[in-house]
Amino acid sequence: MKAAPVFEAGNHRWWILYDQEERRVIDSNVYIVESNGQSVLLDPGGFEIFPQVLAALAEVIQPSSVRGAFVSHQDPDIASSLPLWNTCYRHMEWHIPALWESFIRHYGALEAKFSSIPDEGGAMLVGGRKLEFIPAHYLHASANFHVYDAEAKVFFSGDVGAALLQPGHSVWVGGEGPESSKAFDEHIQHAKYFHQRWMPSNAAKKEWIDRVRQLDIAFLCPQHGAIYAGDNVHRFLNWFDGLTVGTALTH
């Protein structure tokens, strides 16, 4: 896996670990938020990619700075590495949707330290900086959260914004060049089926879009695919707004 900075301002950084080598499982991004010498992982990934993730992490942050992890929902590509992380970091704290706690313990590590996130959301501190848990229920899990860093204007959007891309893909939608609607249109083709099939409800989608449009977002970071930056954030929200998903398609 490769590591790249998403945002950097002094000792406050966001990293993305992306483009995993193992192709037999869905390609996932892992994000790290670093602040004042402490770090947390956002959706730390599946059991199978754990060695790559830890190795990539060790190249960009002080390994002992890891204090905890955030788990957006219960899926295996997100949380099945939990027992391995817990062996390496015996004291790390897991921020987990309250609804999924007892499910997630099934991955192992019965003793892991969990901190439940109630349905209405909440926040955590990393090195003195606040990360907000934004409810995104039914997108796609019935208890589901995203993470917003108001200072960095970075929004971790879990499965929303996901795209199924080829190996060797770029960190950014449209590559390194300036954001263009053409590059966005090309990219979003790889996101369409994912959203239609894995996002169950138009109503949930609408509620989420209304909430997220209130936030000032410079980078929208999905767990699969590439990051939407600048104008692409609004392009994505508009596109998602107009997309019919889930139950609305089957009826």
Partner: protein, 206 residues
Amino acid sequence: MDIQRIMRIMDASYRTCRTIEYALHEIDRRALNAMVLVKRHGNKLAGYGVVAQAFREQAAHLKEAAAPLQHSTAPLVRAHMHILQRRRNAELFCRIAENARCNARCADFVRQSEGSRQRGIAAEDADAVVILRELVQTVARLQEGIAEQEYVVTNGRIEAALSERSGAPLMRVSHEMGVAVATVRDAIWEYRSELEGVLHESSTGI
């Protein structure tokens, strides 16, 4: 091997790389500063200019030599984390074995697969030791580079002493450069002894 020991190695690698990065940057800046001083004093300090140039070149070479350090840690981490995954599976099977003690056929099956798992772990352990040896060699090469750099520092001190009357603060610059080089030397030395400790433990099978 103890997983916490690997975590400590990871931390030491990161710390060493950052220390080297920072110290090399310091050396480079100070050398560049010295070269500016030398230029400002016309031809009088040309001798020191040569030393300062050597410093910058050495620092660049060391930076190059230090680059694989971080990359060589990644395979080591991966190898040990694979071992961790296997152990995790092994633990589950141990539990099956305990539960199935009464059932002879089941116990037999568990014992066999246990054997193949242990062989798998032993093979990965051996791979990890090879990677560790390579890492130690990389570090040894870095140490040679540092020795050369220290030689340049000594030359710099002599040149600085010779041109002391020019009024340029070269003695101070040389001293600071010496400190930066010593920082790199100590960081690498410490890192190497940490690695060798792990290597010793791995090869003696503790």
